[in-house]
Symmetry: C2
Subunit: 335 residues, 2 copies
């Protein structure tokens, strides 16, 4: 236990992320200073945004070569030098891709006693709240409206579509591969799912949304955003959650027709970050828990075992191999 | 009076609009059918959107070769075959680029008795209402916020900036040429104006909006929209009114960083058309009239004399030569 296994970013990727951009190393266990906690990593969240952090400062600081890879995780307090925390407490924060971190107590959140812990990353965590706020508190959705969701099998998309169904919308997903699309319909209950790898997305959108799209929840940007823009209904709303198609390539491509299409169709496009809705998190938690208990919301989790699998896990996530919320189990739950 | 002078679009322009795309011709005076009015054209509105109509269907039908050029105008009823209208009534509608038109009575609006009539195209007309709704009812503006307006000397921009000042905003215009920029500050009271023909727009935006832009009112699209996007404050709002930079060239260019910048900065971009706010026009008219009477709002009009000058007028408008609302005086006011 004297060693701390860490995964370091050794090179800023220019194109696709590869395992060679990371290095595993052993470091001494960090010593918490006054006001800090020594935290043992249990479950590491993996998110497409992790790749965007390597491109420069976004809504947070960039990850630079030589840094232990950043990452949000749930862990257990092993040693406390801060008032109000004791060994055994379960907290969430920026533990990063390592077994142990010394964190400022002020920078961590105490976790609720909901179990399994994995739910605190998926349905009751950032994924769930991103889906909830990004759908209900950005564009909103009304009964009978047509909702299109990209990355429909992903951590956020899988929840957005299900919430859309709960709210009475006609829900069309977009995902990669026929098998995944079948699963999105059969398992998640979407009304339809377009396979962007094999279908003509624009043609299928016209077919499946004959009156146009009321709300497009965009996780991907690029060509799919382009197709959606052309298929929007007058006064349609686009919730911009992320642009996973743009993170792992060389040159980001903007859709054509901006701002012309926005004017002609009177569209609203709005970006958001889940942290902006902290003041409404209680409402989100209440609803998500209720839908979970009533069985209206299925939780889909995709957990890889072992910190050493974090690079492979993120690379696979960017290629769309995950179903639901991807995490890395770094260590066991607290005793 | 038996002849009707008309200007016809003879060719769809591919690049810049030229006088050769139009032809002047004499036609017989139209005969109104039952339910129609024969209307004499008095004041023809010219708008950048007229050029966009030639590119295909927008929020309205396209103008095709062989068509009398479309245009919104104020005219006098000469002959009425519709209940409720009499010769001498002043109406507004799609008279087009011609001296006379036979129009369905249902398609025209009766004008108020406000004079001069030109105000019904400028401050109390589509320009004024576009500025009012597009600023106050799309992004909104609060005291102390920073508002940037492109095409600041134009019909809409000149009013948006003034309304921004009335609402207590810090207002920065963008216009073409040092002389025009001086005029925007001295005459319209903007706090500053950037000369996009000679200044580095991005550098000047950083300088003049050190805390970032709260609201960008976009009349132009293209490179200036791009610069504004990078200069937006977190949670900034962009009102998409038009894209004059895109109408008269070959290939429209979208700004880079869509949707990435929208997410990272949590921006909202929203297109609108003034007709969407018909139900709030009374409120707009009340406020605009009051600001006009109190002298808080200066009306800038740019009226060319003679229908034959309509092609030249529109070409000049697209090149940014106008100050304030451009119109063509086709005939005298009613006796």
């Amino acid at each position: 236990m004297a060693d701390n296994t860490q995964i370091v970013l050794v090179e800023t990727p220019k194109g696709e992320l590869a395992e060679s951009h990371f290095e595993l190393r052993q470091s001494p266990l960090p010593t918490p200073e006054e006001g800090q906690l020594l935290v043992r990593n249990i479950l590491l969240s993996q998110d497409a945004a992790n790749r965007a952090w390597m491109q420069g400062a976004t809504y947070r600081a960039a990850v630079n070569p030589g840094d232990v890879m950043h990452g949000y995780a749930i862990g257990e307090v092993v040693e406390s030098r801060a008032a109000g925390f004791s060994p055994g407490d379960v907290v969430a924060g920026e533990i990063g891709w390592q077994e142990f971190a010394a964190l400022d107590a002020k920078s961590v959140q105490r976790c609720s006693d909901h179990r399994p812990l994995s739910h605190l990353h998926s349905v009751l965590g950032i994924a769930g709240k991103t889906a909830y706020h990004g759908l209900l508190n950005v564009p909103g959705i009304a009964e009978g409206e047509t909702l299109v969701v990209s990355a429909a099998a992903g951590s956020v998309g899988s929840l957005v579509g299900q919430i859309g169904k709960i709210k009475g919308a006609h829900v069309v997903g977009i995902a990669g591969g026929a098998e995944k699309c079948d699963w999105v319909q059969a398992e998640l209950g979407f009304d339809a799912c377009i396979d962007y790898k094999n279908d003509d997305v624009s043609a299928r959108l016209s077919e499946l949304c004959p009156g146009g799209i009321d709300v497009y929840f965009d996780n991907v940007g690029g060509n799919i955003l382009q197709s959606a823009l052309f298929a929007m209904k007058l006064h349609g709303r686009i919730s911009c959650c992320g642009a996973v198609s743009q993170y792992d390539g060389g040159s980001p491509a903007s859709p054509v027709g901006i701002p012309g299409l926005l004017v002609v169709k009177r569209l609203r496009m709005e970006g958001f970050i889940v942290m902006d809705f902290l003041d409404r998190d209680q409402e989100a938690e209440r609803d998500l828990k209720q839908w979970l208990e009533s069985g209206q919301l299925k939780v889909i989790e995709d957990i890889l075992d072992g910190l050493e699998n974090a690079p492979r896990g993120l690379i696979g996530l960017l290629a769309g191999e995950n179903r639901g919320k991807r995490m890395i189990r770094v260590g066991p739950d607290p005793a």
